[in-house]
Symmetry: D2
Subunit: 137 residues, 4 copies
């Protein structure tokens, strides 16, 4: 990997506000903050274009439901080739959060997530999409 | 307004992907694209911090509803100090789209938008938030 | 249009929170609030599936730029078949907000919006997508 | 927990589209789909109101960076009272994804996430927010 350096010109007023933001967000310097903005916009493009993505599926449910746990296990096994990992957190006496990491085409991942979220007993489910990092350097 | 120039360093692979994006989005050069990314992130911060914003409220409804039109008119007049303009577009025989531009604190604008969206007969309403431009140069 | 009535069952705790939300958002009743939630999710699906949509493009710029205004006019005329209306608001001495309503396939609208946002002199541009209302009753 | 049943009326055209969506998303019945829509909107409200939330922070980075790993470990230990768990996935030879689950007020969580995302070497970081489930039944 080679670093390429080039010049950017910004109005002074804009750069003052940007520097304050950088400071608040604790970036070490402007380059790092700008790299982050660029990668962020590239990731958004990837997701729109149905490229291969990582899905982060959060599932909130009451863990006193044996049947749901069984069904969750089954659907995850049926799609084991798309599931990277599952993390389980006990939020309180009743609630647990399960975070399932998925990998595949944006469209496929959405379909699988929809199927899981629709399971009876899931209080709240949400799918977030991020990059596989393959094309980000 | 004064332009300030500074150097940014990016990995070559990242810059290649960024240049392709710039080309696809037809930016004249990297500086312009980076300025856009910076302003975009500043606007997002403004909105989160309940600063003064511009709200863009889209309302979709069937225009054969006299009563709704009256009520819409009334609520807009009650808040005329926050409403910049209203644009009305006839989408087809039945549907019309009304776009109301609002200005005020993020929280106030949301409350007013919620009230309007909740009116009986509105098929679909959505509030988008953008910047007043005051702090963007 | 015919109304169909059916029963929904909700846990009492959930219904209490929902009723508070309905009250805060000033919905006349639960049916109206539920209709809104359903239409909202249908609109999100439309946009994902590249169906025909309405685009709301907000453009913020300094109006002392004759050249930008000319270019903006030109690009809008080139695509007049996709542009429903343009609203112009004077935000302060320097800034103006232009809201362009567009209609077409989600992908086409995004491409056109990208092209406009990339014009030199646009401080901030953002595209929001909503429904044409055709399939919402 | 007690189930309460009430009637909802929907235009026939809207219910047909909703039933298709329910079928596609594999919900067992309309009640379950409507409960999901209601919980989803309640979670969005929670997050806006700076209530206690769960944050899901995804971090993408090249694992050949010893220094970054050390710094990541340190910042996580400094805030151990807000961190529920960390999951690490090896995406390919170079990239790894770390998913950090956080818990706290929406504002605090955002600040901590910003600090971590800004670390040199993080390719891409994103914070998603979801509910603690406490007020969802």
């Amino acid at each position: 990997m080679q670093l390429i350096r080039f010049g950017v010109s910004l109005p002074d007023h804009l750069i003052k506000r940007f520097d304050r933001l950088i400071h608040r967000k604790k970036y070490p310097n402007r380059s790092e903050a700008i790299r982050d903005l660029i990668r962020h916009t590239l990731v958004e493009e990837e997701i729109e274009n149905d490229a291969e993505i990582v899905g982060v599926l959060t599932l909130l449910y009451n863990h006193h439901q044996r049947e749901l746990q069984d069904r969750l296990g089954r659907v995850q096994h049926d799609h084991h080739d798309r599931i990277l990992s599952t993390t389980h957190v006990h939020l309180d006496h009743d609630n647990c959060l399960e975070v399932v990491l998925l990998r595949g085409r944006a469209g496929q991942i959405k379909q699988l997530a929809d199927e899981i979220i629709a399971l009876k007993g899931i209080k709240h489910g949400q799918l977030y999409r991020t990059s596989t990092g393959k094309n980000l350097s």
